[in-house]
Each structure stands twice: as structure tokens, then as C-alpha cells.
């Protein structure tokens, strides 16, 4: 990887993480001022615990499969950091989807609409960036998936979460 590309990648990641943290801080401040807190009732907390467990198990299985493929078959299809990143996103997605489908993702005062808007923005922006990286030929280099695929992985993961929210909303109200 050239120095310029490497510096650009690091800078992009730092800016991305910083922007995400800033948005989250603004959201929390805004929510606190409006009297909304992130509270989950006992059933939601229990189900979120199960979702964390399943996410952990998914990440464990993914790591073992990847390790086995590499050690047993000398099959390395991605850079080490990329594999780690994909595993992390897998865990986050499993947690989010399970929580959403079991009504344990949104807090008592939570509103899905804000999340949907944010997710659409994240999916769209990352998909556009990902397509640009594909066109630039950065995503697969020497037959290996590189860290340049982060935008595509992010878009895919958040798209799955967005679909889960929409499916769950469409399933409708199970009230009396």
C-alpha cells in the first residue's frame, strides 16, 4: 500500500470515527434535554442479554472458521485487519437484528424513525464510497480482500439492520 493511500485511509477512519462519536454525543445531549433516557424494561434487558450471547457465538464461529480455513487449507482470502473488521460487524449485526425482531432494540422512549433516517444516510453514503473503491480497484488486491472494503461492509451491515427494522414495523402491532 502506498504511503499516501495508507495515510488517507487512516485519516478517513479517524474522521469517520470522530464524526460518529460527535453525532452520538449530540444525540445523547439532545435526548437528555427532551427528557428521553435510554431505559429498557426487564424483558428487553433479558432479551438483549441473549442477543449479546448470540452475537458473541456468531463472532466465535466466524473466527474459528476463518482460522481453520487459513491453517488447514492455507486459504487466506482477506487481510488480517479486514477479517477482524468483518467479524466485528457480524457480531453487531446479529445483536441488532435479534434485538429488533424481539422488540428489545429501542428503549422505552425510543423512536424508530430517527434510526431509519440515520441508517438510510449511512447505507447510502457508504454504498457510494464502496462503489468508488471498487471502481478504483482497491477492494481486491492480489486476490485478497483489503481494508478498502470497509465502506461496503458497513453499508451491507447497516442495510441488514434497516431491513430488519422495516420488516418488524411491517409485521405490525400485536396488541389487543
Amino acid at each position: 500500500m502506498s504511503e499516501n493511500r495508507s495515510a488517507g485511509l487512516v485519516l478517513g477512519m479517524v474522521v469517520g470515527v470522530a464524526a460518529g462519536l460527535l453525532l452520538y454525543a449530540v444525540y445523547r445531549r439532545f435526548a437528555r434535554e427532551r427528557g428521553r433516557s435510554e431505559e429498557f424494561d426487564e424483558r428487553q434487558q433479558l432479551l438483549r442479554g441473549y442477543a449479546f450471547q448470540h452475537a458473541f457465538i456468531a463472532m466465535l464461529i466466524y473466527s474459528l472458521v476463518y482460522l481453520f480455513m487459513e491453517l488447514a487449507f492455507d486459504l487466506s482470502v482477506m487481510e488480517g485487519g479486514t477479517a477482524l473488521m468483518i467479524g466485528t460487524f457480524l457480531g453487531l449485526t446479529v445483536f441488532a437484528v435479534e434485538s429488533i425482531l424481539r422488540d428489545a432494540f429501542f428503549a422505552l422512549n425510543g423512536r424508530p424513525v430517527g434510526y431509519i433516517i440515520l441508517l438510510v444516510f449511512v447505507v447510502a453514503s457508504n454504498a457510494v464510497s464502496g462503489i468508488m473503491r471498487i471502481k478504483a480497484g482497491d477492494v481486491v488486491v492480489n486476490g485478497k480482500l483489503t481494508s478498502a472494503c470497509i465502506n461496503l461492509v458497513t453499508a451491507a451491515a447497516f442495510l441488514v439492520v434497516l431491513i430488519a427494522i422495516l420488516v418488524h414495523m411491517r409485521r405490525g402491532d400485536d396488541s389487543e
Binding site: D41, E42, R43, D103, L108, S175, E176
Partner: protein, 63 residues
């Protein structure tokens, strides 16, 4: 196992699931899950529900 007693007690007070949920500080889906028998509430939540509906634990949660 479905908790029909809870549903009946709630209906007797003319409360929706959301009203009862707001009164005891849980989500509507939790009240729905309890009534359907999909979730067993803790004793703390049982007591809160009984207080909100003005009934005893025996009335709602004992066979």
C-alpha cells in the same frame, strides 16, 4: 401459558396495554408478552401490575 386474568383485569379497568405499560414503566410489548404467556415477569413487576390494577397477586398470577 396465557394470562387471561391479567387481560380481564386490565379490561375491567378500561385500560389499553399501552396505558398499563405506562403505569408500570415497561413497554407495551412486555405487557402483551405477559398476557400471551411468552414472558414470566419478575415479582417486582407482578407487584407493580397488581398495584396499577388494584388487585392482589393471587388474583392475577396464582393458579
Amino acid at each position: 401459558m396465557k394470562n387471561l386474568k391479567l387481560k380481564a383485569a386490565r379490561a375491567a379497568k378500561d385500560l389499553s396495554q399501552q396505558d398499563l405499560a405506562d403505569a408500570v414503566g415497561v413497554s407495551r410489548q412486555t405487557i402483551s408478552a405477559i398476557e400471551k404467556g411468552d414472558y414470566n415477569p419478575t415479582i417486582k413487576l407482578c407487584i407493580a401490575i397488581c398495584r396499577a390494577l388494584g388487585v392482589t397477586l393471587n388474583d392475577l398470577f396464582w393458579e
